[in-house]
């Protein structure tokens, strides 16, 4: 028994143990060589800055000398009302922003993909390009264009509404606390709806024709065919879209900064973690930048995203059914 266990545990070591060990080891150098470029670039550009951010969040500048304060910055961020009010508000806005995307952007993306993959649709290529076009535009162009469209002074929105007698329905949506964040979320959905559409469209094209044919022979057509046959097959892609949306939304910053500025007005109504981080880290007008508190917020964002992605990977993706096609 002992003997057998010993043999068994020894087994994988055998090649190395047998005779000259050096050639075997030497042969493995190529692994390191091939890994090196990617590893070096990734370490220099991602891992080191990430580790340094985590390190920065544990320090505080006292009279320009960094002092180690442990997790005190996190305590301040989460409990001191001067910081926590902004933090929780920004987090709430982030969830609102995300909810809008998951409930609107992805279903619309799926619907557009389903329509595009209809075999008898005319002008498919045109629609596909048109829907995807905003995604390729810079956020600066998108932000500026929508600001102009919705401008109460020069915008086309008030004029268009006026031409059908609904001028009274127009409000300075981007300038009102009650509507600013929703407006921005809709702009963002408009811009990025192309991504879930494209991914899901590709997944739908990958569904073998025989399967659809078999369904049709069994009398499953139209919407039932979409629900019973296609949808189960594209669930994994929808999952990927959702997680991409989640990561993208919790890292969001650019559109809001372009449209509402670093103060994320009106009255911080559009403040999300990204703008809060920017304001804190780099400073704003007379407010000096605070890299330590900035790093603390960045770390919190990292943890939130990590938690979300882990929950998805272990909770949802692991249980998802896959079909071999």
């Amino acid at each position: 028994m002992d003997q057998i266990e010993k043999l068994a545990s020894d087994a994988p070591l055998l090649p190395a143990a047998r005779g000259t060990a050096s050639p075997a080891r030497a042969r493995r150098w190529h692994v390191a060589v091939f890994l090196a470029p990617a590893l070096l670039v990734y370490t220099a550009l991602m891992i080191v800055p990430l580790a340094d951010t985590l390190r920065l969040s544990l320090f505080r500048g006292v009279e320009h000398v960094p002092a180690f304060v442990g997790l005190d910055n996190f305590r301040v961020l989460l409990t001191d009302p001067r910081w926590s009010e902004h933090f929780w508000a920004a987090l709430r806005h982030n969830f609102y922003f995300f909810a809008f995307h998951i409930l609107l952007q992805n279903p619309v993306g799926i619907a557009l993909a389903a329509l595009l993959s209809l075999p008898r649709l005319r002008g498919q290529a045109f629609y596909r390009t048109a829907f995807f076009l905003p995604t390729m535009l810079s956020f600066v162009i998108v932000g500026f264009t929508w600001k102009l469209i919705l401008s109460p002074l020069w915008g086309v929105a008030p004029t268009l509404l006026g031409s059908i007698g609904l001028r009274g329905w127009f409000h300075p949506w981007l300038g009102q606390e009650s509507t600013a964040l929703t407006t921005l979320a809709l702009i963002s959905v408009w811009q990025y709806v192309g991504i879930p559409m494209m991914l899901i469209y590709a997944a739908m094209l990958a569904i073998p024709h025989e399967l659809i044919e078999a369904a049709e022979l069994d009398g499953i057509t139209g919407f039932a065919q979409f629900r019973r046959i296609k949808l189960p097959l594209i669930w994994p892609t929808i999952g990927i879209c959702s997680i991409l949306t989640f990561v993208g939304n919790f890292n969001a910053f650019d559109l809001i900064y372009t449209v509402s500025g670093a103060n994320a007005g009106p009255n911080f109504a559009t403040d999300i973690l990204g703008t809060f981080l920017f304001r804190t880290f780099f400073g704003n007008q007379l407010q000096l930048g605070d890299p330590n508190m900035g790093a603390t917020i960045a770390t919190m964002m990292f943890l939130i995203i990590l938690a979300g992605v882990s929950a998805y990977l272990f909770g949802i993706q692991a249980r998802m059914r896959r079909y071999a096609l």
Partner: protein
């Protein structure tokens, strides 16, 4: 592989040849790079200010390298930390630059010849709290007031610009009733317009300029005192006179609205003068912020805005000192205020201003007492930042989402949470 090496060698040689060829051109002149947030002034610097300097100082070349105002502080701090900032730094007043001096990124300028051309008040914006060390050479101050469209005033039957708050609102009513012009050109989404051109513009008449500002710093007055809530009460009445949808009207929108001749009164800073004179097709007028009651003393925000300092790690320290000495001289004051009307020299013996509108603005200094923005000195050092809070509060008050009293209470509460006035 061989080709790569050969290519590397070739490009290396090419670089060497290039740098050899370029070297003599650089060796003769010292090039000073100037960091600034005034990207609007780039043509003026290139066409007027830089030639004026280079004419008198052969061997030194200037390279004016502005950043967008919004990004300037963040960009400058990063560049200074990384050691890649220019030789000359345009200094924001008070704490932003004080911090740089404390970090040894700016040097003291007390020894620069010509520093005695400035009063202590002018130097206050760029000196240590005890006033002993000055670290930037003051270049320009900006004045606040209102610019108006004289055609609009004539159309509404207004003969004299308003002197009191009561007259101001009576005139706004007249313009509104006439209906041709939007009475006031201002929006709230950019927030700083509401704070700087609103609150800090009309405020000094209520808190009595320097008296109130100093009392606030010493802790003898509070932002919840009637004198400090009053300007918010005035601002709260502005909303109905602003353009339709002012909640989404940005700063450039307001400027265009006024210069296109669609609005009557523009709450202004003197830095607008050059642009407005160029674009407006109608006659412009100015008036100082209206006083609460007839006969009250008037105060005007005469805010130290720009100074120039020296990067402590500059490799061209001598040339930088020469430039700063020129900034402190009347020559600079003349060319600067002539080419950038609305930016007023802070030197004690400066040349007369030539631009007519800028002259009218400057006259406020003679008839009213000067003060500066209340939030800049010491009060915006902590968290929450008072200046930022005032931006948000001013916009909220005009939008009507916060009452003047609520806004004042919030500001004072924020200030109390970190600011402890020095011994009373």
């Amino acid at each position: 592989m061989k080709t790569t090496i050969a290519a590397c060698l070739l490009s290396g040689t090419a670089l060497a040849v290039l740098s050899l060829a370029a070297a003599p051109a650089f060796a003769a002149d010292t090039v000073l790079t100037i960091e600034s947030w005034r990207n609007d002034d780039l043509p003026t610097w290139q066409e007027k200010i830089i030639p004026a300097f280079e004419k008198g100082h052969p061997g030194i070349k200037l390279n004016f390298q502005p950043t967008a105002p919004k990004e300037y502080n963040a960009a400058l701090n990063s560049k200074l930390d990384a050691g890649t900032a220019g030789d000359i730094i345009a200094c924001r007043p008070f704490d932003a630059s004080l911090e740089l001096f404390k970090k040894n990124q700016l040097t003291g300028v007390n020894a620069i010849p010509g520093m005695d051309n400035f009063t202590a008040v002018a130097k206050a914006g760029w000196s240590t709290d005890d006033g002993k060390i000055t670290y930037c050479v003051p270049a320009a101050a900006v004045l606040h007031g209102f610019i108006h469209n004289q055609d609009a005033f004539a159309k509404a039957g207004i003969k004299q610009p308003p002197k009191t708050a009561e007259e101001f609102f009576a005139d706004l009513d007249k313009i509104k009733k006439d209906g041709t012009f939007i009475p006031l050109a201002m929006g709230t989404p950019d927030q700083w317009e509401a704070a700087t051109m609103g609150y800090q513009n009309i405020g000094p008449n209520y808190w009595h300029g320097e008296d109130g500002r100093k009392a606030l710093i010493e802790g003898k007055e509070k932002l919840t005192d009637p004198a400090w809530v009053a300007p918010f009460r005035e601002l709260a009445k502005w909303g109905p006179y602003l353009g339709d949808g002012y909640q989404a009207q940005s700063y450039p929108d307001s400027q265009n609205l006024f210069t296109l001749g669609r609005a009557a009164i523009y709450p202004a800073g003197s830095w607008e003068i050059a642009q407005f004179e160029k674009e407006a097709q109608f006659k412009l007028g100015v008036f100082p912020p209206p006083v609460p009651k007839a006969g009250d003393p008037c105060y005007v925000s005469d805010h130290p805005d720009i100074a120039f300092g020296m990067n402590a790690r500059s490799k061209n320290a001598d040339a930088a000192k020469t430039f700063l000495a020129w900034v402190a001289s009347p020559d600079f004051a003349k060319v600067y205020s002539d080419s950038l009307p609305g930016f007023y020299s802070m030197q004690t013996r400066s040349a007369p201003v030539t631009d007519p509108l800028a002259q009218q603005f400057l006259a406020f200094r003679a008839s009213c007492k000067s003060t500066m923005r209340s939030t800049y000195q010491m009060l915006s050092r902590g968290t929450p930042n008072l200046e930022n809070e005032v931006w948000v509060a001013s916009a909220n008050v005009i939008n009507g989402t916060e009452t003047p009293e609520q806004a004042a209470q919030k500001l004072q509460k924020g200030l109390d949470s970190w600011y402890k006035p020095a011994a009373k």
